[in-house]
């Protein structure tokens, strides 16, 4: 069952790359090759080091968008890669690696959100620093991106995760369903609410200057 679910997930990788990549892997599409993954399965740590190199930017980018902190994102990304390696025996090398590692990373991020809520850790603390910077001095596009990031971190993780998966990572709803275990209708509703809330936050920001 798990394999079938994963197969569907793998087949629907949008931005994550649905095509099989070159044997050695390609850093540009963030997808390691089959040969490399087979070496990892045989216990070649150096090969896994190469896999980490290829995928780390994609995974980190996703986690960074979700947690809003570079250090925490690095920790979660590292943990995701460690867990992936320790369980690589369960990974089917015929399937793309990226959706699998994404799923581990998202699950770890969700756990982190839960732990942060329990310990009342402010999420996205680094972005308060961004708030302090003068947007006018920055490049306009960068300023817009930072405003968006800031607004994104205002969202509840329940809405933030599907929104980031949908619009930042370019996944479709079926794939998100496989990853998060939430029905498509619920995901559509969450993404729609997240967009509306994000728009409202940006409008409020505009009004406040």
């Amino acid at each position: 069952m798990a394999r079938r679910r994963y197969a569907a997930s793998a087949a629907l990788v949008g931005k994550a790359g649905s095509e099989r990549s070159a044997p050695g892997g390609n850093a540009a599409d963030g997808q390691p090759g089959r040969e490399l993954l087979e070496r990892c399965r045989r216990g070649d740590r150096q090969a896994y080091g190469r896999v980490v190199e290829i995928c780390q930017n994609r995974v980190f980018n996703l986690v960074r968008r979700l947690v809003g902190s570079t250090t925490i994102a690095e920790d979660i990304t590292q943990e995701a890669f460690v867990r992936a390696y320790l369980n690589i025996g369960r990974f089917d090398v015929e399937r793309p690696f990226l959706p699998w590692i994404f799923r581990i990373a998202v699950n770890l991020t969700r756990n982190w959100f839960k732990a942060a809520a329990r310990r009342e850790i402010p999420c996205g603390a680094e972005n308060n620093l961004l708030q302090a910077t003068d947007g006018r001095q920055l490049d306009e596009r960068l300023a817009i991106a930072r405003r968006l990031e800031r607004a994104l971190l205002e969202l509840d993780p329940k809405y933030r995760i599907p929104l980031v998966l949908k619009h930042v990572e370019g996944m479709d709803y079926r794939q998100m369903k496989m990853m998060l275990g939430v029905p498509v209708t619920a995901l559509k509703m969450r993404v729609s609410r997240a967009r509306a809330r994000l728009r409202r936050l940006l409008d409020e920001d505009d009004r406040n200057g």
């Binding site: 216990g43 460690v82 025996g89 559509k188």
Partner: protein
Amino acid sequence: MKRKWNKVIDAVLDGELTAEQGRRLLEQLGAGDEAEQRLKKMIELAGGLESLPAEKPTVSLGEGVLTTIRRRQHLGGPGKSKASVRLALVAAGALAGVAMAATVAVPLLRSRRLPVPRHIDQGIPCRARQVIGKVELDRGTQVAMLLPGQKLSVPDVIRTAENARAEIDIDRDARMLLHRQSNLRVSRLERQLRVFTLGGGRVTVEMLDGGRRSVRLLVGRDELSAEGRRGSFALLALADGRTAVAALRHEVVVGCRGRYELPAGWMLKLSSGCSLRKKLPVPEGVKLEVKEPDGGFRPGRLKITGSTDSHARLWLNGRLLDTSPDGSFTVKIEVARGDIIEIVAVDVVGNTNTVELGPSRVDGEKKASRSPARRVRTKSYRVTW
């Protein structure tokens, strides 16, 4: 009506409709400029999210990932099934349990034979936790953590995977016994463990610490030659934080008939198949000298220096102290007024020696004055006759 507009906008943003189709639908629904403006804004928002600059980690994570993996893989090799990893974890847990139970039980059993101060029993550290050294073993090695005097039994043995390398963390006070057939190779030893080599299967047994340090080795048919195979095998024992290494050939049979115990004061040295046993006198007492402070001490920071026998273990108010190989020690502590410091040295045969340090009277300090007499209130009356 607004709900319908939102549905159309969501369909456009979810990629189910094109922007043009969405606009036409909104027109058909009679939506005005407001809906169209909203659609435009939402498309901009989605575009903004999609074009967020890609973030990269500040450092390459590969090294950290591999280091963490190496640290976590004490037991299982990569790609192992969950069941085997779980089994290995259960075995490790059981082994740790046995070690911890033995940690508690052995001093208690000893205490029957030889009464030792209670605080010593309590002060024995948890050996499974204090990791300070590391031994890397080559594949196929059998490893067991033992206390001196314990037998090595087959369930205690962790057999490393054939294609994997085992890394075992050794605590500062570990008792470890390693054995395997013929080609043991310890490739790396860190910290207080000393590097040794075994050359070409030849037999060399020596105490690396040398001298008079007593190390207890257990060699028995049921233990080291458990499988009854012929050939060479090796033994590494750490007793009282000190290292001893033995590589024996089966033919040499150093008292392998039954149990062989190297008592305190004995040194065993075998070279090229020849045996040499030299008996040293068993110590009747353990030395403990405190050089500093000479006499009492004042409250505040205190430095204590002294020496004991090289094989003795030292306890300060129930805490185990590190001693240098020659038995000397230095410790700095904070003492408060009225504290008493008790230093206990215990050697391997159980001899103890205790020194107590108490506060000294500070020169010029006044003796505590007596408490003032209670004042009694009186009343005076004029008495007339």
